[in-house]
């Protein structure tokens, strides 16, 4: 059934569908945590529209001063519990789970709590235990931040516990330090020029790890700039062979491919292209590489 029937040979439509079907799918914009958070919220009924419209009419007719004030929800005090003032930011999704718990799914809550019994605020993946404190919790795209203004809170996250005092800030997942903030290690070959630089890079390339990989790449680039494509090809090939999953393997494969094509070594270039397709099919350049290989393999 898959092929289009002979008596209905609309090849244009079939071809178009075939091309569209081959298009790779983009990853979703939302996170799994958002789905989980939404799944624990009771589903809203279809009457929501009607209720919203009715409320809009009522609010429109009777404009009262409190309609402009921020939404402030007072948690009703239970005999032993705290007095809490909760101020949610507009658009926040939150709710109470009994007298002693609040669940913040998305947005920001400013909480002012004074009592005897610990109250729990679940903000994303972080549980905040608090007795008397003023703090803000925020959940954005599964990322939780807590800022304590007064008092102390106890945080539980990922099996860990951490106390947070007034003036302290907490983030979960923890921010990854920017690579830009970390100074790169000094390159031992930086001080050299000309032949000394090449000799230094060759020595580095005989070593191991990232230093050797980057030395090989730079060596190849210098050889190419110096008009020695064969040496460049040798260095890049060496890099790909020794570091097939290294940080520079994609760039090395593509540079090797370009150099082989520009020097007319089509058979070798096709082989490198095929290797690229095998190892790196998810790379955005894989389609271009595939096309290039087909061109290289097409008899002139």
């Amino acid at each position: 059934m898959k092929p289009w029937r002979e008596e209905e040979p609309d090849e244009r439509a079939a071809k178009l569908l075939h091309i569209a079907a081959e298009a790779p799918a983009a990853p979703p914009a939302q996170q799994w945590d958002d789905v989980v958070a939404a799944s624990i919220t009771p589903p809203r009924s279809n009457m929501g529209w009607a209720v919203a419209a009715l409320l809009a009419v009522v609010l429109g007719v009777s404009v009262t001063p409190w309609s402009r004030a921020p939404e402030v929800a007072e948690v009703p005090p239970s005999p032993s519990s705290a007095v809490a003032v909760v101020v949610p930011e507009a658009g926040s999704v939150w709710r109470r789970l009994g007298d002693q718990s609040l669940l913040l799914e998305r947005g920001r809550l400013d909480v002012d709590l004074a009592g005897n019994t610990p109250t729990h605020v679940i903000a994303g993946a972080v549980e905040i235990e608090v007795t008397t404190a003023r703090f803000a919790a925020q959940v954005v795209n599964g990322h939780t931040t807590v800022d304590v203004v007064e008092g102390n809170v106890m945080l539980r996250f990922d099996g860990q516990r951490q106390a947070l005092r007034a003036g302290e800030h907490f983030e979960w997942p923890r921010a990854v330090p920017s690579s830009a903030a970390v100074p790169p290690p000094p390159d031992p070959c930086d001080a050299h020029h000309g032949d000394e630089l090449l000799a230094c890079l060759r020595r580095e390339a005989q070593g191991a790890g990232l230093a050797a990989e980057t030395a090989l790449f730079e060596l190849a680039a210098i050889e190419l700039r110096g008009g020695h494509p064969s040496e460049a090809v040798a260095a890049w090939s060496n890099l790909v062979r020794r570091f097939p999953d290294g940080v520079l393997h994609l760039e090395a494969r593509l540079a090797l491919l370009r150099t082989l094509v520009s020097t007319g070594r089509s058979a070798q270039a096709a082989e490198v292209a095929r290797d690229f397709e095998r190892c790196c099919s998810a790379d955005v350049r894989a389609t271009d590489v595939r096309r290039l290989r087909r061109q290289l393999q097409t008899p002139q």
Binding site: M1, W4, R5, E8, I19, P28, Q30, V35
Partner: protein, 198 residues
């Protein structure tokens, strides 16, 4: 697009288990969400946000884990939810637009960077043609031709016999070709340039 080995493994795991855990659903999300999102975008057209729909599909999956666990194919079950949800949301969106409550959404949402220009153009044209098809035909074209579901899976998704799937597909292909031809003619007339729609 393709039922990968990972999904097959998960299918068997889900079948064997009487209880589907949140983590099982999460694994399905990781494995299938790009494909489902693409399918939802094709089923829904420009009126709806595929990310919102995908979100809702998996919220349903989490809330109805027992039904998911009982399904022969979790992939087909998720597509079934996707089709029903999309149909319902399309109706609502159409009503809202009719009432002037919603603006039409932009069609350029979440393309994969790996798409070639040819694939982008083809996808754009296909989407325009799909939008012109009746829902039943659009669903079967999307599920079979674009998402790569088998006839048996589509049968499970749409709740119709397999033979009906093939019949519907035959008529849907004819309708698709006719709609494409109409679109091409319209394009030629309005642009004044000879040649097809690209």
């Amino acid at each position: 697009m393709s039922a990968s080995v990972g999904v097959e493994h998960q299918t068997n795991a889900l079948r064997a288990a009487t209880h589907v855990s949140v983590d099982d659903v999460r694994r399905l999300y990781v494995e299938l969400s790009p494909e489902l999102r693409q399918g939802l975008a094709r089923l829904a057209g420009p009126m709806l946000d595929p990310d919102d729909l995908l979100h809702e599909v998996f919220v349903v999956a989490l809330r109805r884990r027992e039904a998911l666990g009982a399904a022969l194919s979790p992939r087909a079950w998720l597509y079934g939810i996707a089709v029903k949800l999309t149909a319902s949301r399309r109706r609502v969106a159409t009503a809202r637009r009719f009432l002037g409550l919603d603006e039409a959404r932009s069609e350029t949402t979440g393309d994969s960077p790996a798409r070639t220009m040819e694939q982008r153009d083809a996808a754009h044209t296909v989407q325009r043609v799909l939008n012109a098809l009746p829902a039943a035909k659009r669903d079967v074209v999307v599920l079979f031709e674009l998402q790569g579901l088998s006839g048996e899976e589509i049968s499970a998704v749409l709740g119709i016999p397999v033979q009906t799937v093939w019949t519907r597909l035959f008529h849907a292909r004819k309708a698709f070709a006719a709609a494409l031809a109409r679109l091409e003619v319209t394009e030629q007339r309005t642009s004044g340039v000879a040649g097809g729609v690209s």
